[in-house]
């Protein structure tokens, strides 16, 4: 089984070379760890508690979901400034549907309210995205202008739909995708963790087998083992932390009361993995598959690297633009679900400034505005870093203006570091 693969001269390789891991990814993880440790010191250990990590996770989801789509937009040399506004519009449509329209038809709390609302939201996002894509791809209006217009238009269409009212409370089933109200519990979380771990190991193993089959060089077995081990530890560690966050006693008592029972003395339960985080994981994996393993993904990166070459290779780049923006719109709708479910209301200012957070997350994650380069995991990590900074500073008690100054500075710094890194590795900037 482990026959040594053909190797073209084996000079002494450093540890990192043997592992063949993306050094940029390592840098980002390093930066993230530093941020966490620093905040942990300044908050007297409150930053790295299960409670805060849980909150951080559910706060990141909305921006991270949109950031995965923004990677494709930026990779094809476009930009989308309207994501926050489209999120608000989708949120308004879903708010009106589940609070005003559907209860009249089905009655409050009917199980069909949630799926119909979700479909309505996804359609809204998809249609707006497709329309943007058509204006950009077929009418050749620059994406910057189309989405700048969209930034002004969509939030206010949503405002008009809701008469500016806050809509709530949202449908209880719907609120499950929002975070605190929807977690899968400790047991299911452990099971999911094991499944994710097996999947991660399986993917790495399959990649190795494919290489061996075609007699390409593979990394040494120990390096593969280290990678697999790291993946499993990271997954199970994350699950373990979420599983150690106890549900407050008062909340548990209420739950038992609602079920008409009395809570046993000394009963404890844990939140476990929030459904919204699970949603993000599924989306991130699906988007990564799309980027790396499908023709559509290949065309997105080809069109970003050289639009003329893509066109001459027979790729319909205009339709490609429509597809990318449609996907972006759908992801905005999903983010809208998560955001409003977390807040338990639709408000007019939902997702305000999200466009900037999403773009910043993608860019911090290594997506190049010049096009052709970017990764989904980078964007998700970028979103986590942004959110950690923001909530870390809030916990430390940094004044609001300074928070924004720091976030802005970090964005510019991250891009500068990225440029230096690419110079060093000999890539053209």
């Amino acid at each position: 089984m482990n026959k040594s693969a053909p190797q073209e001269a084996a000079p002494k390789r450093s540890l990192l070379q043997s592992l063949e891991v993306d050094t940029r990814l390592l840098g980002m993880i390093g930066a993230f760890v530093v941020i966490c440790l620093v905040f942990n010191v300044f908050t007297d250990g409150r930053f790295l508690t299960a409670r805060n990590i849980f909150n951080l996770s559910i706060q990141t989801v909305s921006v991270a979901i949109m950031a995965t789509g923004m990677v494709f937009v930026i990779v094809t040399r476009h930009i989308d400034l309207s994501v926050g506004a489209v999120l608000a519009m989708c949120s308004a449509v879903m708010g009106v549907m589940q609070v005003q329209l559907l209860p009249q038809v089905f009655g409050l709390g009917h199980p069909l309210i949630m799926p119909i609302t979700v479909i309505g939201g996804l359609l809204t996002g998809g249609l707006i995205g497709a329309f943007n894509g058509w204006l950009i791809g077929y009418q050749r209006i620059p994406a910057f202008i189309v989405t700048l217009g969209g930034l002004l238009i969509w939030r206010n269409v949503g405002w008009y739909l809701t008469d500016g009212q806050t809509l709530g409370p949202l449908d209880p089933t719907f609120r499950l995708v929002g975070g605190v109200d929807g977690t899968v519990g400790a047991m299911v979380s452990w099971v999911l963790g094991v499944i994710f771990s097996i999947a991660a190991v399986f993917v790495l193993w399959r990649a190795r087998q494919a290489k061996i089959q075609h007699e390409f060089p593979v990394k040494p077995m120990w390096a593969e083992g280290v990678l697999m081990g790291t993946a499993v530890v990271a997954i199970m560690g994350f699950i373990g932390i979420l599983n150690s966050y106890e549900i407050p006693v008062g909340r548990l008592k209420r739950q038992f009361q609602q079920a008409g029972e009395v809570m046993p003395e000394g009963y404890v339960d844990y939140y476990g993995l929030p459904i919204s985080v699970l949603l993000l994981i599924v989306i991130a994996v699906a988007m990564t598959l799309l980027a790396q393993r499908t023709r559509l993904g290949r065309y997105i990166f080809a069109a970003g690297g050289n639009p003329d070459a893509a066109e001459l290779s027979g790729i319909n780049t205009r339709m490609l633009t429509v597809k990318i923006f449609t996907l972006m719109g759908i992801l905005c709708a999903i983010s809208a679900m998560v955001a409003q479910a977390r807040l338990a209301n639709h408000t007019n200012d939902i997702g305000t400034l999200d466009e900037l957070r999403v773009i910043a997350a993608a860019v911090i994650g290594g997506t190049a505005l010049a096009g052709g380069i970017g990764t989904i995991y980078g964007a998700v990590l970028g979103a986590i870093i942004m959110q950690s900074l923001q909530s870390g500073m809030a916990m430390v008690g940094v004044d609001a203006p300074f928070q924004n100054i720091v976030v802005g500075g970090v964005l510019v710094l991250a891009v500068w570091i990225d440029i230096q890194y690419r110079k060093r590795t000999g890539e053209k900037v």
């Binding site: 499908t294 023709r295 993904g297 990166f301 050289n306 001459l312 290779s313 380069i373």
Partner: protein
């Protein structure tokens, strides 16, 4: 030349204008199987524009294209590929951020039964064809921007050759190459010709034209000056056509 058989390609009375400037003005040329036709002329004479009508990059304003005697509708590069027309562009048309295999199969990826792109299979195929075209080629993992001019050229050529082209368009294939690589391209052209491909070769170097081409069509200011059998004329005759637009006596077909 055996003018009895049907031409592989016939570009008949092609015209295309950009904002009032007639880039190609009623030009008719043809190409037979196993033949290399050189396209010559100054920069801006209309060679590349004419050829882009055949490769689907441009749409002609008037005229018709016949492939094997049948009228062909070529509106975009996908149509051209359907007629087994492959093009090596002067700019190479490579996506710099992708590796050699991704570029070679761009738009025609090999997929697994589940519909995912089969990178390992594509890399294996790329290794095979590069082993034939450019045995020194090693950089299969790097994005093509990390490659030298000659290596990039061989990726572009491999892409045109791999998919069983019947009609090959080469727009200055040796412009960026050193003497050794130029020789390799020359040998490749001879080999493809022997396989029965028809090749349109846009070329500035008169010596290459005399060496590689069977016929040469010369354009000037968007119009066809004339087409000559290369072995019936001298360098000076062709230069006269290019520079002065003067047809050599008696040898114009």
């Amino acid at each position: 030349m055996s003018t009895q058989e049907t031409p592989l390609v016939e570009l008949r009375d092609i015209s295309i204008a950009f904002g009032g400037i007639k880039a190609v003005d009623h030009v008719t040329i043809d190409l037979y199987p196993g033949e290399v036709v050189g396209l010559l002329g100054h920069n801006g004479a209309g060679k590349s524009t004419l050829i882009k009508c055949l490769s689907g990059a441009y749409q002609m304003d008037s005229g018709a294209i016949y492939i094997n005697g049948n009228k062909a509708e070529i509106r975009n590069p996908r149509d051209a590929r359907r007629y087994n027309i492959e093009t090596i562009y002067q700019t190479l048309a490579l996506a710099d951020n992708l590796d050699a295999a991704s570029n070679l199969f761009l738009g025609r990826e090999l997929v697994t039964p589940l519909g995912f792109v089969d990178d390992a299979q594509m890399e294996a195929e790329t290794r095979k064809i590069m082993g034939r075209l450019n045995p020194n080629f090693r950089k299969f993992k790097e994005p093509v921007k990390a490659l030298s001019g000659g290596q990039r050229q061989s990726v572009a050529i491999a892409r045109a050759v791999y998919f069983n082209a019947k009609i090959l368009i080469m727009d200055e294939p040796t412009a960026a190459l050193g003497p050794h690589e130029t020789q390799m391209v020359a040998e490749l052209i001879q080999e493809l010709k022997a396989q029965g491909l028809g090749i349109f070769l846009i070329e500035h170097d008169i010596h290459n034209v005399m060496k590689l081409c069977d016929r040469a069509s010369v354009m000037k200011n968007g119009q066809l000056v004339g087409t000559v059998n290369v072995n019936e004329v001298t360098d000076e005759d062709i230069l006269g056509m290019i520079i002065l637009g003067k047809k050599p006596d008696g040898s114009v077909l």
